[in-house]
Every structure is written in C-alpha cells, then in structure tokens.
Amino acid sequence: MELCLFLGCNTPAIRPDVERAIRATMPELGVDIADAEGYVCCPAFGSFPSTDDDSYLASSGWNLSIAEAKGLDIMVQCGSCYSSLRMGRDHLAHDEVKLARVNELIELTGRKLECKTRVRHISEILYNEVGAEKISKTIKKSLNGLHGVIQYPCHTLFPSEIVGFEESPREPKALRLLTEALGATVDHYSRELQCCGGAGGFSKSSPAEATEFAKTKLDAIIEETKADFIVVSCITCLMYLDNIQKKLNEAEGADKYK
C-alpha cells in the first residue's frame, strides 16, 4: 500500500532520526511512502484552532487536499498533527458549510477537497495494516531480553470516535502488541495511561508542575518496571519525555533518568 506521509514540523526539524526510521522501515513492511509536498502546519492546536475556524480548517484543508490529490490516505506520526488533522477533517466531513468555505479558501491552489482522504496514525497502520505477525517475521534485530514500557499518546486515543483506532481507548493495546512483536517484554506500570503533559501551554505556563507531573510518571516506570526503554508513537511525547529526563538529571545531578 502507499500512503502520503505527513511529517509535521518537529520530526523533520528536530528529530529527523525518527523520520529516518519511518522511511527505513515502512517500505520494508510493505508500506510505500509518498511525501506531501508543500504541506503546512497541521495546524497545531495552539495556533489557528485557537483563533478561528476559517484559518484552522483552511490549513487542514490545505494539507488534506494534497493527499487527496494524490488519491492517498495520510499517514502521520506526530500525535498533535494526527489529532489536529483528524479533528479538522472530522469538522469538514460533517459540516457542508464549513467544507464549502474551505474549498473556497483553498481554491487558489487549484485543489478541491471532498474529504475522501483518511488520516491515519503510523501506529494504526503498523497495528492494523502490517500487523504484529508480519513485523515479528521481518525484524532483523530482536529486542529479546529487553524490557520496555509504553507511553500511549493521548492524541491517538481521545476522543475515541474521532482519533481512536483501539478496540478500547481505555485499555489500549496496539503499542504493547507491536513492541512485543519486536521481541521485547512489555512491563506495566501504574501511570501507564497518564499523559506526558508535554503538549499545549501546560509545560510553559506551569513548568514546575508540569515537570513534577511527568516526573511521577517516570518515577513510576523506574520503581515499578525493569524498563530499558519507553515506547512512544508521538513526537511530542518523545521530545518532552527526553527533555524532562535531561532536565531532571541536571536538577538532581544524577543519572537516574535515562
């Protein structure tokens, strides 16, 4: 299958290693990638979605129409982008007036939006399309013997009827099954479903509280599991947890969080 990759901004700009991984693995697993030339910000919730419908949905429409023109579904890795695109698409798909307005706005691109393109998260592709079985057959380097824990990105869970793909958003299992397919053991911990706290204004407006919030999660992982790694499927979670660990280590002058 072929999918239109929507990279967003953080992945290519700050963590191209993740992009590298996507580009390296997906075709191997039978998912060909087409790039979305000229895509713009998803748009991030803190931007146009917080200002007005027009600018929000026009940006969504801009992006969606790129893939739609190619006749491809969109694959997203960044949780925020995924959620924003799906919510934007959801608004447009269920509201003819808004869709018409967006088509008016993007008319200048010469593209037209019918909302045929679906927005899919990379973890859903791996889970539903590729499947754990295929992954475990394809892996070259097994994670056998290693313990991992899962960080479920909220943006891929809630609200379930818009962004969800898990059977139960309250008991998600895709990432666990995928990780196990890589040969690792997945440990559970109390705060497994807790948000990382990295998105939005929280970490900026209340940095100390946000750090503490993430710390409780990290501490739970350290205390309750034998984790060698944290599995994330959202670039925000990844960057934020990495940053926080760094920050905490600096603050405590130790090497506790790695």
Binding site: S168, R170, Q194
Partner: protein
C-alpha cells in the same frame, strides 16, 4: 349442564420479587399461575442480597401470604417458593406470544439442566469429580465453580445444573451420580401453553463491567467491583463468609470508595437516565461495611446528587452520614489508578476547599446501573408492539403496569428501575389488573378445596403409621440399618405400624404406600423421605387420599438425617441418630391435636377513606369486580389535591381531568356509595367484619358502616412555610401558586428577567419535613419550562440540594438544562439568604462551582415547599388503630415487602397517605391496595390457618400481656365480653402470645408446650432403641 369454564391461567414471566409477588397474589385468589424465570433459580438479584435498604435487613419471607399462609411455603424464601397454585419453571424463557386478548398461546423454552432435579439428592458428588473450573456468576467471578454447579450456592434444596458451554463431557459426573439423574444428552424443551393473561416481570439487564467501554477506566484491578459483587463480599454466604476483604489478595479492606452513576446519567453512553436505586444501595453498603468491618473502616461515596427520595430514605441518609460517618464527596471521577501495592488511587476535586486530592483505597465499588432498552425492545418485538419514544414498553397513560395490549401487564424494573417497595407494589398492582381483566372474561378460579373437619377417628387415641423411604440407604456414607430402625420405631408407644418402602417418590412407591395405608387403622401418618420440600405437595395429596387429616401428617427429611452435617471423621451410629430424630417427631405427632380451620365471616363491602385520585381509583377497581364500596370524603368535593389543583403534569398527565372522569365513574357506579362531608371517627372489628363510625359533618350526626376491609387514601397537600420571607411579598410564591398563576394568566412572566426557585424549603432537614417530597424537583422543572416557553429570555435559577430526577425523569432535568435553566446547588449549612428591599426579594447564595457569592433581585422567588400529609391522618389512624409516623404519614406493615398493607389484615393504604409520591405511583398503590382488599372480598371462602393462636378462656386472667406483645395486633381485649379475642386472619402463629402467657391460656394450636417438651425429652432421651429387648 353448562360447560365448565376454564380455570384462569396466568403467565408470570420473571421470578424476581415483583414477579413472585404477582404470582402469589394471583394464586391466593385462586388463579393458576405459571411462574417462569430465564435463570436457573428464582429470586432475581434478591438472591444475592442479604440486606436491603432502607432497613438494612432482609425479611423477604414477609411477602408470603398472610391469610392463606398454609397454601404457600413457610420457610425462608432463599429456600425457594412453594404455592399450591403456582407452577414454577426456572431456567425457562418466554419465546413467543401469539393469539388474541384473553387467549394467548405462549411458547416457553425450557433449557436443559442435564440433571433431573426432581430426583437429584443435591449432595453434589458430581461437583466433586467435575474437572472444569470457571468463574462463578453468582459471586461475580469472585469465586470459582465447576461445570456442574449450584446456581445459588446457599439455596436449599440444591437445584444443580450443568453448564454445557464449559462441560467437557468427560462423563465423570454421570459415573459418580448415585441417583442416576444426569443426562448429558438432554435437550432444551419447547413447551406450548395457553394462558389468559401475561405479566412480564423479567426485570432489566444490569450494567456489566466487562461489557461497557466506560467501565474500563475502572476495571483495572479485581478490587474494583460492582455493587452487586460487593454485596456478595459482605454477605454471610458470600465469598469471604462476610468478612470484607479485597479480592486480589484477601487483605482486609479498610478504605472503600463507592462511585455512583456507573453507566447511568451518561448521555455519551446514550443512557441519560438515573438508575434510581444506586444511591441508597451505596449508602447501605457503606453503612454495612462499617458495621461489619468495624469502626476503622473508612467509606467514601463519590456522587453527583444523593437521590434518597423514598420513604424514610432521607433519614437513612442522615444516619449514614451523621452516625456512621459515611463520607460523601460530590465529584464524578474519571477513573482509578492501580498502585504497585494494589491500592487504588482516585483523584478528585473538592469544590468546598477548591482543591484536588488524591486518595488511595483498598477497594472501589462501582454503583452499576440498569440497562433497560435492550430488554424492552426484545419484549416489544415478541408482543408485536413498538417501543415508545423513550425506548420502553408502551403502557396506558395512567397505568405503569398495563400495556397497551389487552391482557398483558408488566411489573418491577421493567416499568423503569424500581426499588423494592415499588417492585412489590407493582407486582400486586399487576395481579390486580390481571384479576380485573380475568373477571371480565369467561374464566373461573380454581375450585376451592372442601375443608376437612377433623373426624371422630382423628380424635381417637393416637396411633401412628410410619412410612420410611429407604432410597437414601444407597448413598455411600449412609450406614442406616432400615430394618433395625423399623423394629425400633415399631416398639414405640402409639406407633401402629412401620412400613419401609423403596422410592416413595416414584409412582410405584406412591401406589404401594396408598395400598398399605388403605388397610391401616392408624389415624396419624409420618412419612420419612428425602427432600420433603420437593414432594411436600404430592405427599400431602397422598396422605389426603389415604384419609389422614392434614394436621396429623408429618414429613421428615430423611436425607438430612442420614447424610447431613456430621464430621466425616466421627463415625456416628446413623441408625441411632435417625431413630432419635424420628422418635422426636413421633412424640410430637402423637401429642398433636387434630386441628381445624375456621371460616371467617366476610362482609363483602369495602370502605375507602379519602376521595382523592388514589381513593377513587381504588374504589373503582373494587366496584368493577363487583365489590360494594363506600367512599368517604372529608370535603364536599372529590379529587383531592392533585385532582383539583393540578391541570397538567410534565409527563403529559391531566389530573384534574382524570379526577373529573373518575368522579363520573364513581357517581354512576351502582356498587359505590359516596359519603361526602364525612369523616371516620372510630372503628372496630377484624378482617371481614369491621364496623366503622362515620361522622357526617354537614348533618352533624354519626352513622355506622359495616365492611369487610378498608383502604386508607387520605392524601396530602402542598407544604406550608414561613421561610425565605414567604408571605411578605407578592413576588414570593410557592410552586403551586406559580403553577396556578401561570395557568390562569394571573402571573405574567413575559417581562420577567430573573426567576429564582428554591428547592427543599423546609424539607429534608431535622426541624422540618425530614423527608424528600419526591415531586418537587420535577414540579419545579415543569414550571420553569413553562416559563421558558412563555419567555425564553427569562433567566431561571433553580437552587437545589440534590436534583431528585430519579429514573426516567432525569430527561426533564436534561431538558431543563438545555432550555438554559441554571441549576445551582446549596447545602443545608449554607442556605440561600432572602431579604426584602423595598418589598422586593433579594437573594444571596454561594455558587459552589465557582465558589462565589451571587446576589439576585428576581422578579419572582418561587419556593418548593414539599408535600405535607393530611393533618387528619392522626385521627384516622387512631380510629382504626393504625400507626402514623413522626412525619404524619401512615406506617405500612413493612416498608419493603408489604408496602400497601397494615399489620392488621384487612386494612390497606394507598397514595400520599403512605408517603409523598407521583400520581402514577399513587394509582399503582391504589390498584395494589384494591387487589389486596379484593383478595378477601371476592366471595371466596376465607378461613384461618390450622396453626393459629387460641385462648383457653377458663384459665385466662385477661392480663392482656398477649395483646401487648402481639406484633400484628391480632389480639384484643373485648371489654363487653370480657375476653381476649384473636383475629384469626391477622394471627400468624408466631407464638409470642404463648410465651407471654405464663399458664398457656394462650396457645398456638399444634405448637403446644406439651408437644415441644415431649420433643425435648425425645431429643435428649438416653432410652435405648429397643426399650424392652435390651
């Protein structure tokens, strides 16, 4: 001769409490009842509950018949139910209903149990060998069971079955079964029956933690349980023998949280209704947890509105909080987190302190609600009906129990989520509807059994025939030597003969017994067999056929003697044990007098006190069935409060119109005599023969009415208040005044900017009406919506303590919010403050969400002042000798099991005289009270039980201790006759009079001291089995 009419036969589908009650009521008046239940046992969820609110007790046995008690089982209902006129079919599902009104053909699917329970001895050898183990449904998976199992572990007799879904067909059970009653090839059976009427009582599905997505935020640990599962945990017969331990590791649970509205009040899950009972359920569980677990148990309930709306519920709530220290937190919580130490963390926001808290609990109990729609859809399809817009079965406008399809009725939770009291009332009411319906079609009641008077032979010196079934000899552990036993018994004085038969329960066995007894000279009979519960009816018939008086016949449970309850290690002499047990029964039997029953003289006239809608409806229900009714009304107008004041209700009822309609029916009915301007001043007598003194207020003279029974329906009215400056401003009104004003146009709200309503004025507080009036929240919403219709721009604030929109009335609360009506809660210690400024009301209150004070100058301040009982209740109560509670409402016989009865048989209560209730509930109670009355006035012979208390006048000193101690008021002292009188209908033979009476002038026939002391002698006798031989 005209062809014999068929016996009226009724299907009651569903054997929860409401179905059982309906079945008993119909059986009592002589109809044949088929009582089915889709589950393997009867009792519904009540089988799981040891304690039910609001009394924290059981007492389920109190729903058994009072007067016809000897036709029904006289033991704990957990053992099951037996009634001569009821066929019970457990594990049987109603599959289809075809046919016309009054003549329905039903198909019943009798599911295979794979075990012939009639022959199974219930000892469970099969359970021991069964290799399959699965989670036990009864204990909500907290325990394990085998593939062959007892569906209710504590039921007796044991009704085993095999769960074919998990059975491996290894045949181990078949091989081990001593009675050869297991057939793994058994198949479901499809039964076809003709019935004249149908009562649907299947209840509704319960929210299942495994099934629904929203429960998954909670289902993180086995220590998060549903409220029913918790019931199993605290039950004496439950998972931990009543100790409160958390299921995960058996550690005792000291900190327990309840989470309300699990699955209910949830628009997102398409369940925007309230399950009604969960608040009380949680309070009860929290109280029980404290009582059973000790003072160090901490209980917290997370709730939104504490819906304690029923009779005495508010006092229960107060007690739970004030005396037991149950903590209440108003916060709906998202979910729970499982900590590594297995404790459960919940984070909540406390509006009072404006802070977040995280609390750890040992256990979390989810107050799971009910799921009505699926069941309703299925039943509607079966009946070829459409569900109504709410998704429920379509009922007649005023009748909660009457379906739009003739001859089909419903009761219990199918009506919409009922508590016990209402479930029972609805069961009686449904039976009442059926009996009204059947009396309109061409069916008869079962022929009354001729009452056998004791014969001369019965009065002869006792000579006992003993029949023993030796089938239990075959059981492995048994070491009873039946021939030695027979020889021993034969030597006893008064034993005429001993016959030992194999399989008395088989047809052949019965034939043999009958032949033997035909030749017998004995006048008393003792049959020893296994499982007398099951065979009681057939053995009783056998004894009757053989010519033995019912009271001179005893059955003894041989299997229990042979097998039960001895330490395995101690090899007892079972023959000796059996001898001793049987001997004690013989000693009793030989001293037992031949008992007789008395036919009660019944005056088939009913008196109804109160001409409100409940009273009129009850009168009409009775008159329609041919009962002569006297309706006594204090005022010169029929209709009562609702029927004269309330034009419309929010659910589309028109009480005033209805009252007018009923008035015409009452006036036109030949069976009803109306006495207006009259009140009851005194009454005496008992069931069948009351004489009541009535005062005609207009003529100022007294007259007497003789009647067989009476219904008290004195009603109530809007409460009064002086709080919140009421009476000092014409802008301050009660809800009723507002309603009237809006209807007449005297109150113009078209320009009103702000209207404030205060709920619970003078209600639900210690110094006021210490109860919830039930109707005010919906009433306020109705008025508010009317205002909104007239003036959508009006700002309406409803200040409430708990919004009591229980059940499906939750929709009105939702509707009100959607209309922009703002609800603001207040607490008792922070009531709104009202002042008058220039004669206009100014109200100040704390808005608890934002925690800030709000001041408003409303155009109108509307007070919801609740419902007051009629002041005359106390006088009426005094006249009939009926109790009235501290609030002024009548006290029924039992708040759960006998909601419309008084302890004294023959007197009933309906409507607001009982407690504040909605119109539909009052009509339901009126129907139920009429049914209870009809049962005795229908013309059937009513007689006392055999076993009944009597007075030996010659030695009675008239000290009246028996009168004081009788719990039913069945005894009274007649000054004129200078005698103690026993009301034979009310007496339940509890024997308390017998103990209070020191020289046995009061005695329970068949339970004399002489008998019991003889039994004590026999039980402790050291006499050898072969008194003369050894």
């Amino acid at each position: 001769m005209a062809e014999k009419k068929p016996t009226g036969t009724v299907l009651v589908a569903g054997a929860g409490v409401s179905g059982i009650k309906a079945a008993i009521e119909l059986a009592e008046i002589g109809y044949k009842v088929l009582l089915t239940d889709s589950s393997p046992q009867i009792g519904g969820i009540l089988a799981k509950l040891d304690n039910q609110f609001p009394t924290d007790h059981c007492g389920m046995c109190r729903m058994l018949p009072m007067v016809g008690r000897e036709y029904a089982s006289q033991y704990c209902m957990r053992k099951g139910l037996y009634h001569e006129n009821i066929d019970i079919l457990p594990f049987t599902e109603l599959k289809s209903v075809e046919g016309d009104a009054g003549n329905y053909t039903i198909e019943l699917l009798k599911k295979a149990r794979y075990i012939d329970t009639d022959k199974c001895n219930g000892l469970g050898e099969c359970i021991k060998v069964c290799p399959v183990e699965v989670a036990d449904e009864f204990n909500h998976g907290l325990t394990r069971r085998k593939a062959v199992y007892k569906p209710v572990p504590h039921s007796t007799p044991q009704m085993l079955l095999i769960d074919m879904d998990t059975c491996t067909r290894c045949n181990a059970c078949v091989d081990v079964c001593p009675t050869h009653v297991i057939n793994l090839e058994a198949e479901d059976e499809l039964l076809t029956r003709q019935v004249h009427a149908i009562i649907l009582a299947s209840g509704v599905k319960l929210y299942n933690l495994k099934e629904f997505e929203d429960a998954k935020s909670w289902a993180v640990s086995p220590d998060v349980v549903s409220s029913l599962a918790f019931e199993r945990i605290i039950s004496g017969s439950g998972t931990f023998d009543g100790e409160i331990k958390r299921p995960s590791d058996g550690k005792s649970a000291k900190k327990i949280a309840w989470v309300q509205c699990m699955g209910s009040r949830n628009r997102r899950q398409k369940r925007d209704y309230c399950s009604s009972i969960c608040c009380m359920f949680a309070l009860k569980e929290a109280v029980l947890a404290k009582e059973k677990g000790g003072d160090d148990v901490e209980t917290t309930i997370f709730y939104m509105d504490m819906r304690t709306f029923g009779k005495d519920f508010y006092r229960y709530y107060e007690k739970a909080v004030d005396e037991h220290g149950v903590k209440l937190i108003r916060c709906r919580v998202q979910g729970v987190m499982l900590n590594p130490d297995k404790s459960l963390s919940m984070r909540y926001y406390d509006s009072e302190t404006q802070k977040f808290f995280v609390s750890d609990y040992d256990m979390v109990v989810l107050s799971t609600g009910q799921i009505p729609y699926e069941t309703h859809k299925k039943l509607a399809d079966m009946l070829h009906l459409e569900v109504n817009p709410l998704g429920l079965l379509p009922t007649e406008t005023y009748d909660k129990v009457k379906l739009v399809k003739p001859g089909v009725f419903l009761c219990g939770s199918l009506m919409g989520l009922t508590d016990l009291s209402e479930a029972i009332s609805s069961g009686i009411a449904a039976a009442g509807q059926v009996s009204r319906y059947l009396s309109s079609i061409d069916v008869s009641i079962l022929e009354e059994e001729a009452i056998a008077e004791p014969t001369a032979k019965d009065r002869d010196e006792p000579l006992i025939s003993v029949v023993l079934c030796k089938c239990s000899e075959k059981v492995k552990e048994s070491s009873v030597d039946f021939s030695a036993l027979g020889t021993g018994l034969k030597k006893l004085n008064s034993v005429g003969e001993v016959n030992i038969i194999d399989m008395v329960c088989s047809d052949e066995g019965k034939k043999t017994v009958l032949e033997l007894l035909g030749k017998s000279k004995c006048n008393r009979l003792l049959i020893g067999a296994c499982h007398p519960f099951m065979y009681r009816k057939s053995l009783k018939n056998l004894a009757k056929k053989a010519g033995f008086a019912a009271s001179l016949f005893e059955i003894i449970d041989l299997s229990s003697i042979v097998h039960k309850g001895f330490f395995e290690s101690e090899k007892k002499d079972h023959t000796r044990e059996a001898y001793s047990e049987i001997r004690s029964i013989i000693e009793n039997l030989k001293l037992k007098p031949a008992l007789h029953v008395e036919i009660l003289p019944i005056n088939p006239v009913a008196l109804v006190v109160g001409g409100g809608i409940a009273g009129m409806h009850a009168a009409f229900c009775l008159a329609q069935r041919g009962v002569e009714v006297h309706l006594v009304e204090k005022t010169d107008k029929l209709g009562g409060y609702a029927g004269t004041r309330i034009e419309h209700t929010i659910d589309g009822l028109t009480p005033v119109y209805m009252a007018k309609d009923l008035t015409i029916k009452i006036l036109e009915h030949k069976n009803i005599t109306l006495h207006k301007n009259s009140e009851v001043v005194g009454s005496q007598g008992s069931l069948g023969a009351f004489e009541t003194k009535i005062r005609d207020l207009s003529k100022e003279e007294n007259f007497y009415l003789r009647h067989g029974a009476a219904i008290i329906a004195t009603g109530g009215h809007e409460g009064e208040t002086t709080e919140y400056e009421y009476g000092n401003s014409d802008q301050i009104l009660t809800q009723a005044e507002l309603k009237d004003g809006l209807a007449t146009g005297e109150i113009d709200v078209s320009d009103a900017e702000t209207i404030v309503m205060i709920q619970c004025v003078g209600s639900r507080e210690k110094q006021g009406r210490e109860y919830c009036s039930r109707i005010c929240c919906v009433g306020a919403i109705a008025n508010a919506l009317t205002i909104k219709e007239k003036n959508p721009e009006a700002r309406i604030f409803i200040l409430y303590r708990d919004v009591m929109t229980y059940g499906f009335t939750e929709q009105y609360y939702t509707k009100a919010r959607l209309a922009g009506i703002v609800f603001v809660s207040y607490s008792l210690d922070n009531k709104p403050k009202v002042e008058l400024t220039d004669g206009k009301p100014v109200i100040k209150f704390i808005e608890p969400v934002l925690n800030s004070e709000i001041q408003l100058s409303p155009d109108y301040l509307i007070l919801s002042t609740g419902v007051d009982p009629e002041a005359s209740n106390r006088d009426v109560g005094k006249a009939f000798g009926l109790p009235v509670n501290e609030d002024g409402f009548f006290v029924e016989a039992d708040s759960k099991w006998r909601p419309v009865e008084f302890l004294k048989v023959g007197l009933y209560v309906a409507g607001v005289a009982h407690s504040p209730m909605t119109l539909k509930d009052a009509i339901l109670q009126a129907e139920a009270a009429a049914q209870k009355t009809y049962a005795y006035l229908s013309g059937r012979k009513i007689h006392t039980a055999h076993t009944i208390s009597r007075v030996h006048d010659a030695i009675c000193v008239r000290c009246q201790r028996c009168v004081d101690i009788c719990p039913y008021g069945a005894r009274s002292y007649d000054e004129v006759l200078d005698r103690i009188i026993v009301d034979g209908a009310t007496c339940q033979a509890c024997g308390m009079c017998g103990v209070a009476c020191q020289n046995n002038a009061a005695e329970i026939m068949g339970f004399s001291d002489k008998q019991i002391m003889a039994v004590i002698d026999a039980k402790l006798s050291k006499a050898p089995m072969f008194a003369t031989a050894e």
